[in-house]
């Protein structure tokens, strides 16, 4: 077998067992790896409570991992989210994914709960569960430093240990499994960290074909202004979007009360470069290197983070934003949900937190002390508790990222149809509505968006299963990645067959969610977007969303997906016909 190793490591933290098992080849062919494989492996467990010891926490790499396929040293972490209650996956890049593959594994599935804090150490042949009592309570840097001799490290911080519902899992090199609170699931298992080293090499079935496909991908990267353009993400990282979102009048500001923040230039891509001396960094082996770090080596914030600790909280102090980002990374928390929760809290009490208060509240959240006890539950529960549920700018309890849906109607629809809650990455319509890739679409129109969102969700489910980075698709398409996959595995794949796999994954996730009680009522945007206008300017009007058109398009989406008008399945045995 090429591309896959065909092996999964099952770890049971309750009884301390670790065993390698075969993964049936037909599952690998049908679900690829990453998100798809993880979601498939959840089939017998998706009804479990996220904090039930028996729920699996799955790390799955894809068939391209371990090769020089651009952007593919990535994994998906899959389980059920304690924040949203939905099935949940996060894609993350870095050496950790590469090493899992090199250790001869396509996936690691961790169940059970350890009575004492432990870490898991994996190498080519062995897996050991070792005590981590001395590390419990420690931040990410210290944890990673003390384990790095054992290979690549992924760890939780105090937030994960303390069950913060938006705790993340941090990779040693600064990448994060960043949304949905998967760090809290890891913490509930008593698992502080995982280390992995391996020496295996991923074979490629057809080297010549692989090299040609890789050259095609790289050519498209170079032809893409968003990727390698002089104002693109390779140069400025995702903060390259700050100026654009300001110009397009869709930068969420003060808990989405407005969509323009006059001082956003303070934390734009060029400002970050000037003020922090941004150096190019990125996921292991990625040619794009969209991540940036300061001249002191400190990871610098992404677009979402600068906007949310910036405009969303009415703050224009770049250095305070960088500090908040660093603190979240160190404590192991999702920056988007943390900042959005503070913003909702700020609006509810009539005052957004100033930079000093942000820092102290982040500490309180991670340790669940003082106001942090409530804030650790995320904006929906906070707003509910404060008697102002309408102030949570979330979908299915996941805080919305930094693209105001009033400025991109496909984004509005995609937020609600996303199987993991208010996420921009499932269908990523910003790609065409704003960045004009692969072709531009009218951002102020719902026309055709139901079908476009459906197709993009399928595409991205496949991308998350390869696993490749979404940013690669600002240039390349499934045509070139299908070639890479065929060349690596020796199994023929193309865009259409990959989309069919994506559709299978997507519907499986939706089915799990529906079985857990989700339906149309949960596919809802906060009321604010239908009743309040965004900030007009530069000849751009940002009216409230038209609810009738929105609902019409949502119903179209359900029809295209073959769902009922309630967004549910007619066939209760839907999963049985799937591989």
């Amino acid at each position: 077998m090429h591309g896959w190793t065909g092996k999964i490591l099952h770890v049971n933290l309750t009884d301390g067992s670790c065993r390698r098992e075969e993964i049936p080849t037909e599952l690998l062919h049908a679900y690829l790896g990453g998100r798809g494989l993880g979601v498939r492996l959840m089939r017998d467990f998706f009804r479990l409570d996220p904090f039930d010891p028996e729920i699996p926490l799955i790390f799955a790499v894809g068939p391209l991992c371990g090769t020089t396929s651009p952007t593919s040293a990535r994994l998906a972490c899959v389980t059920r989210s304690p924040l949203t209650g939905t099935i949940y996956d996060c894609s993350a890049g870095g050496r950790f994914a590469w090493r899992i593959k090199a250790a001869g594994l396509d996936a690691i599935s961790i169940t059970g709960k350890s009575a004492q804090p432990v870490f898991l150490a994996i190498d080519d042949t062995r897996a050991e569960i070792l005590p981590a009592g001395a590390l419990w309570g420690k931040g990410i840097k210290e944890t990673v430093a003390s384990l790095k001799e054992r290979g690549s490290v992924t760890a939780i911080g105090p937030a994960g240990e303390n069950g913060v519902l938006f705790a993340n899992i941090m990779m040693g090199e600064g990448n994060s499994i960043g949304r949905g609170g998967l760090g809290a699931v890891m913490g509930a298992k008593g698992l502080k960290a995982i280390t992995v080293q391996g020496s295996g090499v991923t074979g490629v079935a057809d080297r010549e074909r692989f090299d040609a496909a890789r050259a095609d991908v790289m050519r498209l990267f170079r032809a893409s202004p968003v990727i390698f353009g002089e104002l693109g993400i390779a140069e400025y990282g995702t903060p390259a979007l700050v100026d654009l979102m300001a110009q397009r009048r869709m930068a969420p500001t003060e808990n989405f009360r407005s969509t323009f923040f006059a001082e956003s230039g303070n934390y734009s891509g060029p400002s970050i470069r000037r003020e922090c001396g941004a150096r190019k960094e990125g996921c292991y082996g990625c040619p794009i290197q969209c991540k940036k770090s300061s001249d002191k080596g400190e990871p610098l914030p992404e677009y979402e983070t600068v906007n949310h600790f910036g405009a969303l909280n009415g703050n224009s102090d770049l250095h305070a934003i960088v500090r908040a980002n660093t603190l979240c990374n160190e404590l192991g928390m999702d920056t988007i949900s943390a900042a959005a929760t503070l913003s909702a809290f700020g609006e509810a009490r009539g005052r957004f937190p100033d930079p000093a208060e942000v820092a102290s509240l982040l500490w309180e959240i991670a340790s669940r002390r003082g106001e942090g006890e409530l804030l650790a539950l995320g904006s929906r529960r906070v707003a509910q508790e404060l008697g102002k549920p309408e102030l949570s700018m979330s979908v299915k309890s996941l805080e919305l990222p930094a693209y105001d849906p009033r400025g991109a109607y496909g984004m509005a629809l995609a937020y609600v149809t996303s199987n993991r809650g208010g996420c921009h990455l499932r269908a990523y319509p910003i790609s065409h509505e704003i960045l004009r890739k692969p072709v531009p679409t009218d951002r102020f129109s719902f026309s055709g968006k139901a079908r476009i969102i459906k197709i993009a969700e399928d595409v991205n489910a496949a991308v998350d299963s390869l696993v490749a980075c979404k940013f690669a698709f600002f240039g390349a398409t499934l045509e070139e990645y299908g070639e890479l996959l065929s060349a690596v595995t020796g199994v023929e794949y193309g865009p259409e067959s990959l989309k069919a796999i994506g559709e299978r994954i997507y519907l499986t996730e939706r089915f799990y969610n529906c079985e857990n009680g989700f339906d149309r009522a949960d596919d809802a945007l906060p009321e604010r977007f239908f009743s309040e206008a965004g900030s007009a300017g530069e000849g751009i009007d940002v009216p409230p969303l038209d609810r009738v058109r929105f609902e019409e398009e949502l119903q179209k989406y359900y029809r295209i997906r073959g769902l009922t008008t309630d967004g549910t399945f007619t066939d209760p045995s839907f999963l049985e016909v799937l591989p």
Partner: protein, 394 residues
């Protein structure tokens, strides 16, 4: 979506890439619709219904070149491989179905091919292309296949002559009837472009329209810019040159804002050309004969294989320098700026032409026309020379 279908059917007629009455589109939202020539519309609908995509066009090209390319392909081959940049970058290759393979219901076979590629040629039927998420994309892919097959056929005829019955006559008809004289006559340009934003935007919009109307593009791609003080006004990536209103980015020359992340992928080339030549405006199109001629190289025993990106030489066609270089962050931005200043124009191998204006777009447009006309004449001159009996050759 019906309005989109109407719009892009109109564009296929306006650019004369498809035969009137032989165009059909299909598109699906929650329902599938198709429109156009009834037999093609049926085929379009039946094909699209098998695919996870939004739109499809099936149309008979106005020139028989795609069919000739299939007939000229050796038995056993199932795709053609044009060498122009657009094909290499976006289409990779163009699969085809021969008449004999179609059977009673070609839709499933076409759908299988479109499951892997953006467009396919169906012998005797036409070009069928997919739009993954928009109707416009189906149109773009049709135009790209039309452009690529045009360029490849002209190259092949020059290299190998006519091989099929009827080919020579069809080619003559193309030359006499399809091709039209190319000029800038009747177009109005501002002699001296001011620094005024509104004037610059409206001039760029007009020049974009002219470039498409005079057929100096493939589909509607190319890019246009004007320099004004600290700003470069440049058309956005994936913008229709004939619909540039609202699609021109002002980009600060010092990169102090990244709003221009949506600007043309050739922003860097434009910036460097402005820096090195002092020009006011730049026009870049993909005129077909220039593309064909740019790939004609007489060097023998050259060790370089990937000429389109690795050729280090500056060749010349009618006084216009020809350089290699990939688009975007590839080599084009390095190789064009140093050579374009002297003649005011430069051709990029397999890709297209850049021209300059020192005061305004009139000069740049005239240069683009002139380069293409020279390449057209040179092409036919060479073709005639090849076709002469041996004793008449020089």
């Amino acid at each position: 979506m019906r309005d989109q279908i109407e719009k892009y059917s109109g564009k296929l007629l306006a650019d004369r890439s498809a035969l009137p009455g032989r165009i059909a589109f299909a598109a699906q939202d929650d329902v599938l619709i198709s429109d156009g020539a009834p037999d093609l519309a049926e085929l379009a609908g039946a094909t699209l219904s098998r695919l996870n995509a939004l739109a499809l066009v099936a149309a008979r090209p106005s020139l028989p070149f795609a069919d000739f390319l299939i007939a000229r392909s050796p038995k056993g081959e199932n795709c053609i491989l044009p060498q122009d940049t657009e094909t290499r970058t976006f289409l990779h290759d163009i699969p085809f179905l021969r008449k004999g393979e179609l059977g009673d219901d070609p839709a499933p076979k076409i759908a299988v091919l479109l499951g892997n590629r953006k467009g396919v040629i169906v012998e005797g039927v036409g070009i069928v292309t997919l739009g993954a998420i928009t109707v416009e994309q189906a149109f773009i892919n049709y135009s790209s296949v039309f452009h690529s097959t045009f360029v490849k056929y002209l190259q092949d005829v020059l290299a190998e002559g006519f091989l099929l019955p009827g080919e020579r006559e069809a080619f003559q008809a193309f030359r006499d009837q399809w091709l039209r004289p190319l000029s800038a006559s009747g177009l109005v340009f501002r002699d001296k472009l001011s620094q005024e934003k509104d004037e610059i935007l409206s001039e760029i919009e007009a020049v974009g329209r002219y470039t498409v109307e005079r057929g100096l593009v493939d589909s509607f791609f190319g890019n246009i810019s004007a320099c004004a003080g600290d700003l470069i006004y440049i058309s956005q990536t994936a913008a229709s040159l004939d619909e540039l209103k609202g699609c021109i980015d002002p980009v600060p020359t010092d990169n102090s804002s990244t709003t221009g992340i949506t600007a043309s992928s050739e922003l860097l080339a434009h910036r460097k050309i402005f820096e090195q030549t002092g020009a006011r405006v730049i026009l870049h199109g993909h005129p077909k004969f220039s593309v064909v001629m740019s790939m004609l190289c007489e060097a023998r025993d050259c060790p370089i294989k990937d000429c389109w990106k690795d050729c280090p030489h500056v060749r010349e066609i009618g006084g216009t320098p020809v350089v290699a270089g990939e688009i975007g962050a590839g080599g084009l931005a390095k190789r064009v700026p140093p050579v374009i200043g002297a003649s005011g124009s430069a051709i990029v191998y397999g890709h297209g032409v850049f021209t300059l204006g020192r005061m305004g777009f009139g000069e740049a447009f005239a240069a683009l026309v002139e380069v293409e006309n020279f390449c057209r004449e040179e092409y036919f001159r060479r073709l005639e020379a090849c076709m002469l009996p041996d004793e008449h050759k020089a």
